[in-house]
Subunit: 131 residues, 2 copies
DNA sequence: TCCATATTTCTAGTATAATGGACATATTAA
DNA sequence: TTAATATGTCCATTATACTAGAAATATGGA
């Protein structure tokens, strides 16, 4: 995940219809949903929906496959995971978030309560715990 | 953090000058940086910089204070933390991320490696570990 | 007070995004 | 092969975003 890629994803998620569609796809899981179902649930004309699905697709945050007459969209979960890692590493690691990998390759992120005065410096105990 | 607030933040971070400015402010920590320093480091005219800083400020992801002739901007770290929590809870919790709070109020997020076929169902061991 | 510095606001030009009607394409079944 | 369904593409309109010159505001110092 580099800066340019993250900009494209932020842009994809910065529009109401697209964010709502993406969240529906997330809740639908790996099976995904056909374009028509999204258009109907979100009460958006099918061509407008198609425009936004294409936008999400270009950002690589959803993928699609044809199944009969339908085109099924599904969320690209690994990319979301990468985006979250990018945000933690690049956007708040110094102040109150830490990220490490355990022996199984699972990323463990700790978000402390906000430190009102001083940076946390990677150790807890320096935060006052207030939010 | 609700949907509308997250859209505004995604929008704020979806533009190159703004994301670069935000990342500079993150690396500057709580002390922040004056508008002129950002304008100079990013080689962006001061009025254009001001436009983008205002955008970030409206999204509440940075704040500002006057110090003498300078206006110092700094990153709003707690909001980033909230955004990350929103993304984990709303965008991938079912599939391969979990979030919980420990006794000190620290959020512990686990991002597994991607599960190629089936949902992880909150337990590890069901993932094949490949990325 | 007068000037230099730091930043914002105003403004207009240009570019990009969103919307939805009309039409085109792909698939399936009769 | 004709019709119905599902979706995408084309296009014009409207709205919003980005950019930077010029002017305005705020501060601190000579």
């Amino acid at each position: 995940m580099d800066t340019q890629e993250s900009i494209i994803i932020f842009d994809a998620l910065s529009q109401e219809t697209r964010l709502r569609a993406f969240r529906l796809l997330v809740s639908a899981g790996k099976d995904g949903l056909p374009a028509g179902a999204l258009s109907e649930k979100l009460r958006v004309p099918h061509n407008t929906m198609s425009f936004h699905l294409n936008h999400l697709s270009n950002a690589n945050i959803v993928s699609s496959r044809r199944e009969g007459r339908s085109i099924i969209y599904s969320a690209n979960f690994p990319l979301v995971r990468d985006l979250i890692r990018f945000m933690v590493r690049d956007c708040c690691s110094v102040e109150f978030a830490s990220i490490r990998e355990d022996e199984k390759g699972v990323s463990i992120i700790e978000l402390t309560s906000s430190c009102s005065d001083k940076p946390c410096e990677s150790k807890k105990g320096k935060c006052d715990g207030t939010s």
